[in-house]
Amino acid sequence: MSRRMYVHFEKKFENFEVNVELDYDLEKYHVIIGPSGSGKTLTLRFIAGLESGKGRVEFEGREITKFPPQRRRIVYIPQDESLFPTMTVQMNLLAGVKLGKSDFDRDLFERIVDVFKIEHLLDRYPSTLSAGEKQRVTLGRAIMVKPRLLLLDEPFSSLDFHIKLELIEFLKNVKKEFGTSFIHVTHDPIEAKLLAECVTVIEEGKVTYRGNFTTLVESSRSRFTERVSEFFSYLK
């Protein structure tokens, strides 16, 4: 049976309204794309239990809407840096196990250290790491608690292009290696093209497209998707 997630999220602001419905097969790598301020981050935060709003979150048929974030086993990686600055890399990796309720899995820890190439960083503090190393440790820490879903909110927005490409390849490998489910929010069409097995476009608080990336480029359904098409035509 494939792993599915259903989300319905509604929230009204003074000049803005979000009304999003998602039905995802979590075997695929999902990318949510859309212009800034369209409600992508709010939706992700609602799934993680960090944002209030009307609606429901169902995971494999079980409703988890009322669960607090710490009981959902859905790790949210925000755009800002989120490593714990007063802990070493090793302490960061083990934080969810030592302070949370996850069991320590030595094999998993060793695999993470190996796959994420962070053995030489274990005794260092986050302030001494490069941007790419920080992202690798952040992802490793998330995998360590065996989440059922990983939510990435524009994780590469502040990175140089070459580090971004390296991490994109790395994420594909992580998905294969650890079987983790991903929902990845970005406003970068290249990031979406390289990663997405399913793309969702959110514009002005609504889902305007869901499908594969090639169809999105050909469809030109809205101003945003038209601009994405133009961008790729230009690149060709």
Binding site: R71, R73, Y76, S82, F84, G96, Y125, R141
Partner: protein, 258 residues
């Protein structure tokens, strides 16, 4: 130094250091060693120093227990009401000391609900150690709350949010992640609060001149025995305070990792 503003700032810094250090240095070097020896053997002086340090310690401890969670609450809440409360917290530092004394004195009288409840519970402020703690707590707790607010707002809330999604509960997130991040700021606030509590005189003259604190004793000796004796007691108080603050500062901010 090519930058003109920096040059002016540098001279301002020199003036400031001179203005602050000159009276302290004159005070330290002009203290009579013979008088210092005499007051060092005076039991009343040590009792007063003990009352001063202990009341400041109790007040700071209460301030940390109450002020740190209050600071966390205010740091995480948005809106005009909470900003108003934040400003209200610093109000005691703006009230002249004698007026604070009158306020605490009035609070402890039988004429109001709080005062009568305190007296029924056997708690008296006038010329009691509890009164000293009440006064110094009132004038010093703001420093801890303000420092806690600035400590808890010095890092993004997303660090705490990520912690929750890693399965770490709110209490453990507060104790193991937020508190260590805000600790240097809270420590600075606690040191300032302790120093403020130790230096209070005006309000204590109204509420509790007994048991004698060092400040009250210095005033008393200045009037009865003269400047030299008051200066010698002050020397001991300053020496002990600076040693304590120096140790706290080194232990608290020595391991800077962020």
């Amino acid at each position: 130094m090519r930058n003109g503003v920096l040059r002016i700032s540098f001279f301002s810094e020199l003036i400031l250091i001179s203005v602050l250090l000159t009276p302290i240095l004159i005070f330290l070097f002009k203290t009579d060693p013979a008088m210092l020896k005499k007051v060092a053997g005076d039991g009343e002086v040590w009792r007063a120093i003990e009352v001063t340090f202990f009341s400041a310690f109790v007040s700071t401890l209460l301030g940390v227990i109450i002020g740190v969670p209050a600071g966390y609450f205010l740091a995480r809440k948005r809106g005009a009401v909470f900003r108003f409360i934040e400003n209200l917290v610093v109000l005691p530092t703006l009230i002249p000391h004698a007026i604070v004394g009158i306020m605490i004195l009035l609070l402890s009288t039988e004429n109001n609900v709080v005062g009568s409840l305190l007296q029924k519970a056997g708690i008296y402020f006038v010329d009691h150690f509890v009164g000293i703690v009440a006064v110094v707590f009132f004038v010093s707790v703001s420093y801890i709350v303000s420092s806690a607010i600035s400590g808890f707002t010095s890092f993004p809330v997303s660090i705490e949010e990520t912690s929750y999604t890693l399965g770490i509960g709110s209490v453990k997130t507060f104790l193991h992640i937020s508190l260590p991040l805000a600790f240097p700021s809270i420590l600075r606030g606690a040191i300032l609060s302790f120093a403020r509590a130790m230096s209070e005189t005006g309000a204590l003259l109204i509420v509790a001149t007994y048991p004698r604190t060092a400040q009250i004793l210095i005033l008393d000796r200045f009037e009865t025995s003269g400047l030299k004796e008051a200066q010698a007691i002050s020397f001991i108080v300053i020496f002990l305070s600076l040693t304590l603050f120096g140790l706290l500062f080194i232990t608290g901010t020595g391991k800077k990792r962020i």
